[in-house]
């Protein structure tokens, strides 16, 4: 298995290189960042100074070459507009995004799997039909609209929860997070639910489908014939089998909610990375865009690796091939 992991990681280095090339030249093609940064009343001399100060006067291939050389030393460049190393800027935003993402994934597992299992177990009951109908809404309503409606109802009309922003931070086991204060949790509730809504629906549907598929199978009948309790059949044997697609999807969803929670973060003014990347694209802040996407690619590579390893744990038939075949 270790050979498998090493092989995977070395392949990912190539992916990262290609990615950096695409993004670097892609951002260059969008436009000239100087027009975005510069004060409107700057004269021509000031524009030239700024272009030179940011190294944008050099040919693009040379800029890329410098970038690569620095990147090998772990330096992905400085944000043009913040003058902070791009990595630091992203890491500064990472905790906010992580707590939002993990809450969203937690909600989608905590609600999605039990509801999905129930809906699959008793597909004809009224409750199951209600669950499925609601999940369609969760799927199809646009995130930004739901987010605004949630703010309108819970923050503006009812006044129960704050409308936006991240709450106070608490410290627990040396980790600073808004998960550890009431104020922080209150701030987290709406954005996490907003972000989770789609995923809850997705997990419900996957779990239900798995349930429906597995319940009539021979191994279930066999287990019952063997005299196992219904509880053990459903929660041990069936559950294991339906978990494989669910784990895959949840793994990818973790990546999705970390990397692209842009809409939710924007509506709730949540100071996470999704907000950062959108601002950076609007500013053509190339070092941040490149660094961000490289980190995201890396994250997806790691998540996929973890998912592959989890497969083999969940399903002994899956073997991670050391030969790469």
């Amino acid at each position: 298995m270790s050979v498998f992991i090493i092989r995977r990681l070395s392949q990912s280095a190539l992916v990262l290189l290609i990615m950096s090339l695409l993004v670097f030249f892609g951002v260059f093609a969008i436009g000239d960042p100087i027009e975005i940064f510069i004060a409107a009343d700057a004269d021509q001399a000031e524009r030239e100074r700024a272009i030179a100060a940011l190294g944008l006067d050099k040919p693009i291939w040379l800029q890329y070459f410098y970038f690569l050389a620095n990147a090998l030393g772990g330096d992905l460049g400085r944000s043009f507009v913040f003058n902070i190393p791009a990595i630091d800027l992203i890491l500064l935003r990472l905790p906010a995004t992580l707590e939002l993402a993990f809450c969203a994934v937690f909600l989608s597992v905590a609600f999605g799997i039990p509801l999905g299992m129930y809906a699959g177990y008793r597909p004809d009951s009224r409750a199951a039909k209600t669950i499925m109908a609601t999940s369609i809404a969760g799927f199809s309503l646009p995130t930004f609209w739901v987010g605004l409606m949630m703010i309108l109802v819970f923050a503006v009309e009812l006044g129960w929860l704050p409308a936006s922003g991240r709450g106070e931070l608490g410290t627990f086991l040396g980790i600073q997070s808004s998960l550890f204060t009431l104020n922080g949790l209150a701030h987290l509730a709406l954005p996490a639910l907003n972000l989770a809504l789609f995923n809850i629906s997705l997990v419900i549907r996957l779990t239900r489908a798995g349930m429906r598929e597995n319940m009539p199978m021979d191994y279930v009948k066999f287990a019952r014939a063997k005299g196992l309790t219904q509880r053990r059949v459903v929660f041990v044997h069936v559950m294991k089998n339906i978990m494989i697609p669910v784990v895959t999807v949840i793994g990818l969803e973790i990546g999705q909610v970390i990397a692209f929670a842009v809409v939710t973060e924007t509506i709730f003014a949540w100071p996470g990375m999704g907000k950062l990347i959108i601002d950076s694209i609007n500013n053509l802040d190339r070092p941040v865009i490149v660094a961000y996407l490289l980190i995201i690619v890396l994250m997806f590579i790691v998540i996929n690796l973890v998912v592959d390893v989890l497969y083999s744990v969940l399903d002994p038939r899956v073997r991670l091939s050391d030969t790469g075949k």
Partner: protein
């Protein structure tokens, strides 16, 4: 079995409800706390790093300038109590006595020298304040509280320039930007002390009880960055923040109808206009009605430019797009600013006259064109362009409207590409003078003079250039104001660009607060007070 499956669900639901209910406890804000929702993104606390209006707004809480601008951008004393012209190329500034920095060190002329030096030094600046210090050839410290600036040429705008250069402590002349962001070097003389900065999230400030000017009402101010306008409005309605800036038009009826909300409004220093390509003989987006490039660029003809201006129903745009919250424009700056000509009125909406002018110019059947603009830069910019398209069509010019994100639009429409023919842009006069739009938008582009840097249509009129050059060499205010008025009249008579409207800056706040609205769009907590 059913219960077995349901039990975890129920317990989870109960736990969730309990957790949320516990969190409902309202955070009781202290009476002297103010939370503001800002639309602009603050990128740094270093007042010399990035000449960007949200940054300048935050800096104005922590730092002072020699000269301040009041809400209407008139100059008022800041760290300098008075300034005089000794001769055409020498300005003398008398500095305020008994002012101390937040760290207790006294302020004197050496701090001014250090700040000017730092402006030129600050590394990696994407947009520096050199444009405000360039006029100074030599700085002479006469005594600890008198400083003189020698300029190479007469520099009537030097006091205005000094109103944008923040004064930092001489101890931090070589502190990098990071030291300011972390607070070590964010030591000014301003009404608030710096407490904390989380990029993209918030800036926290505390009152400077030793401030030399009127003390702010608020012991603690949090400036929260909420870029999305709907989220900003929601935060105000929910009471998360007590004041927001850049209220969007769509939210106005809602806010106006709310008893808990008050609105502050003032005419902005920002003009929205159409720039016209008057340089090329063939302009890339001006064609005949079959789509073939016209052999001659009609925008070079004054009559065509005037026809376009008369084809626009400015009052209609103001009413329909902005719900009345804009002012039809006929000049470069609204009335009341320095150098504004009172003769410039908005062109009347007159499609017949526009047709006649087009016919006289040799285009009785019109032509076809594409007009370009941003869709994320100015309030309702895209809607405005969509409204203008049919107005041009009505006088016989087939018009297509294309809008783009600012990131693409701003660079492609500028030097050296100049990709478009007719472009929607805005111009805020940071100096509060007509010289600002005249120099940047209408003067002939000239690198050595630093003129016409944003003149995307490359309009060029020797008469305007000459009047402007004379104005910029005239130190006496009344004479300069007259020359600037004449220059803008000349440019408008020639329709160098098509002014559309002046924006109105809007702030929303909880009842019980008052804010003196500022023409320059900035939000300054020291001017937020409890309403009487």
């Amino acid at each position: 079995m059913r219960f077995v499956l349901c039990r975890p669900m129920i317990s989870i639901a109960v736990a969730a409800v309990a957790a949320v209910a516990a969190a409902f406890l309202p955070a009781s804000a202290r009476a002297q706390d103010l939370v503001v929702g800002l639309g602009g993104n603050v990128t740094s606390i270093d007042p010399h790093f990035h000449n960007l209006s949200p940054n300048n707004g935050v800096a104005a809480h922590v730092f002072d300038r020699l000269v301040h601008q009041d809400a209407q951008q008139r100059l008022v004393p800041g760290l300098a109590t008075e300034w005089t012209v000794l001769d055409d190329t020498t300005w003398e500034f008398k500095l305020r006595q008994n002012v101390r920095f937040h760290d207790g060190t006294p302020f004197d002329a050496e701090d001014v020298v250090a700040s000017l030096k730092r402006v030129a030094w600050v590394p990696n600046s994407p947009s520096s304040f050199l444009i405000s210090t360039r006029a100074i050839a030599e700085t002479i410290v006469v005594d600890s509280h008198t400083i003189r600036f020698r300029t190479a040429r007469p520099a009537p705008l030097l006091p205005v320039d000094m109103s944008s250069v923040n004064i930092v402590s001489k101890r931090h002349v070589e502190s990098p930007t990071g030291d300011f962001n972390q607070g070590r070097a964010a030591v000014g003389t301003g009404p608030f002390r710096f407490v904390d900065f989380a990029p993209g999230e918030r800036v926290v400030l505390a009152r400077n009880d030793n401030y030399w000017g009127p003390k702010p009402h608020w012991a603690r101010v949090t400036l929260r960055i909420i870029a999305n306008p709907s989220a900003r409005t929601a935060a105000l309605l929910a009471g998360d923040v007590q004041l927001i800036d850049q209220v969007q038009t769509a939210d106005l009826p809602r806010l106006r109808g709310n008893q808990q909300i008050a609105i502050a409004r003032v005419t902005s220093n920002r003009l929205i206009f159409l720039a016209l390509d008057q340089n090329r003989d063939q302009s890339p987006f001006i064609t005949d009605k079959q789509g073939a490039l016209l052999p001659n660029n009609p925008l070079k003809n004054r009559r065509v430019r005037q026809a376009l201006s008369r084809a626009i129903n400015r009052a209609g745009i103001v009413q329909r797009v902005f719900d009345g919250e804009a002012i039809p424009a006929g000049g470069l700056l609204p009335e009341g600013f320095f150098g504004v000509s009172d003769k410039l009125k908005p062109d009347a909406f007159d499609p017949e006259a526009a047709r006649r002018l087009l016919a006289e110019a040799g285009y009785p059947n019109g032509f076809a064109m594409t007009i370009h603009g941003p869709n994320d830069r100015y309030p309702d910019d895209e809607k405005v362009l969509q409204a203008i398209g049919p107005m041009f069509a009505r006088v016989g010019i087939d018009t297509r409207v294309v809008t783009q994100p600012w990131a693409t639009y701003a660079s492609v429409s500028s030097a050296p590409t100049y990709a478009y023919s007719i472009m929607l842009f805005g111009w805020g006069a940071a100096t509060g003078e007509v010289s600002s739009p005249l120099r940047s938008l209408l003067a002939t582009p000239n690198r050595d003079l630093g003129t016409g840097a944003s003149n995307r249509g490359r309009y060029s009129n020797p008469q305007v250039d000459e009047l402007l050059a004379r104005a910029m060499a005239t130190v006496a205010d009344p004479a300069r104001a007259r020359l600037l008025a004449e220059a803008s009249e000349a440019a408008m008579a020639d329709q160098g660009l098509i002014p559309l409207y002046y924006q109105i800056n809007l702030w929303g706040m909880r009842k019980g607060l008052s804010y003196e609205p500022r023409a320059d769009e900035t939000t300054l907590a020291q001017f937020v007070r409890p309403a009487n």
